[in-house]
Symmetry: D2
Subunit: 184 residues, 4 copies
């Protein structure tokens, strides 16, 4: 039994940098290896950059590529770094291919502030996503704000930037259909 | 069913700061609230500082206090920030009171570099510990380096500073006796 | 004889922040007080924010306001934080009102990377500008990249982002017409 | 006429780092090149590490070496990074060899918080010292807290960590005997 985790990088705020010549935010390279080094992470992690784009620019073809890479990945546990704006949409697309009775646990995560900036939530979210993915049952999840959500029970609040449960009853983060394995 | 988590602060490298008048490392106040803010954490978390000490200075009385506070905490899920040098020892003391068939999940975590310094692993570890504690079955665990370990299956390697499984067989991080709830 | 320095804030990259809801760079408030605190600055400094704009958006009216504020300032030594794109242009406008045989020393400075980001040159440039302004003879100067330049002897290299002397002869940084007081 | 500056590194808080295995502060290597890169410094600077020690451990032999290196340096302008505790003492030793009517301008600077920590004053002080050294008349100075002082007009306040003039009259920072070139 392998404890290795596959990380697919797609870009998003996580990896944006300040281009000092143009004064704009842009992608240069992923910060994931540096972040894992900073976190002294000793989990067996294989990183692969699929794309480095703003999630608002993500096309159907991009999502199809992500699905395909998840399908052919040998690891049963996968973390995807992704822009927050369409993270829920991509999670929905993935869920069609990776059901709850399947054999893959996929956790999407992102950041509200680029890692390269002093005040990023990226390192916290990465530690969180890599931990959730080790314990959650097969299915597709989003890990943000220290919580995890099943793919169909979450939305990004555009006013606060916070990921929230879409349903108020039972509290999706605890025992929704995309929830954790029961302690049986 | 509550998803709230109790955090007990005991000090350790996590919370050390540079005292610019004396040129030494010392405790001033805990950084946990600031770290949760930086991580945009929306998990319901109650922080309580029990002590702010180097874990090499932790006495039996200190550990008895930690046990007592865990016992009287209403939350079933508890994270303890702790110096790394005697984290395993404190976990062992806690395990005598909080067995695997009990009703509390306790995760100890710490940092190799103070949070106040630029290159700390603290935020990564905090995100990780707060995530593991939400899913692990009752018992006492250590979360470091992106991994979790049952209290009796881990040691800190003094040469590398890395927390490692004490036993090479089955891989304690995956299915040791302090492992995750089985999916059924 | 007063050693106090007036600082006028006009915005520029110096003070840009990442707006995590829109994913764009924007102004919120000046970081100057925080930067002076970080630098443990004990120089008597009075900060006044005149505007918080990108220097590409600076109008003739904005520049007229800056000139006016410099004219009415009681302090003989003034530092202006300014976007780098039109810093030379504003220096030229100021030079019409504040000649070398006048009674005011004005130093413009800025940053290539926002202070709020981890890798900013802002603190270095601020320390530099506040030091140059204490010693330079009356006139208008630009302080960037650890060097100072008379207002009419400098240009920003658009390819490298570096401020350079416009003339190769005598080395403007040392003894150009806008140079330092000669040693008696 | 050369505008190049020689930087001699002697250690001090500037260059201390956190050793995560021992939990102590120690020297590993100087951060000066990285700091100059961060400051986008384009001044011609030559860095030479003479020693990496706490200034409380500095011996007469160490100070003799510093004097000797300043003497043989070809550059007329020298910045020395130095621990703050005995910076004034070393300045006094240097002043015996480098008088005000000599041909060398020497500026000592340091930091209250290690550069490797998030909240260091190091970058501000370095920008400041490199600027003062370009304009001050020959002699020995200390640049701290955004100000400069002649070597015999300054002391470190042990209660606040701030460098202050030793004499209250005329304000040493402006026109003390170690002051700037008079304007004409």
């Amino acid at each position: 039994m392998s404890s290795s985790v596959r990380v697919f990088v797609t870009g998003g705020t996580f990896d944006k940098e300040y281009n000092e010549l143009t004064g704009t935010l842009a992608f240069q390279d992923t910060h994931l290896p540096e972040m894992l080094r900073l976190g002294r992470c000793r989990l067996e992690v294989s990183i692969r950059t699929l794309m480095l784009i703003d999630s608002l620019d993500m096309t159907d073809a991009d999502r199809a590529l992500i699905v395909e890479r998840c399908r052919t990945a040998r690891e049963p546990r996968i973390v995807i770094t992704h822009g927050t704006d369409t993270m829920v949409e991509t999670a929905g697309v993935l869920a069609r291919s990776f059901p709850r009775d399947g054999d893959k646990t996929i956790v999407l995560t992102g950041a509200m502030v680029p890692y390269a900036f002093g005040s990023s939530d990226g390192l916290f979210n990465l530690g969180s996503a890599l931990s959730f993915v080790q314990l959650l049952a097969p299915g597709v999840y989003i890990a943000m704000n220290g919580r995890y959500f099943g793919w169909d029970g979450v939305q990004k609040n555009p006013d606060t930037g916070v990921f929230e449960p879409t349903r108020s009853l039972p509290a999706a983060a605890d025992d929704g259909p995309g929830g954790p394995p029961s302690g049986g």
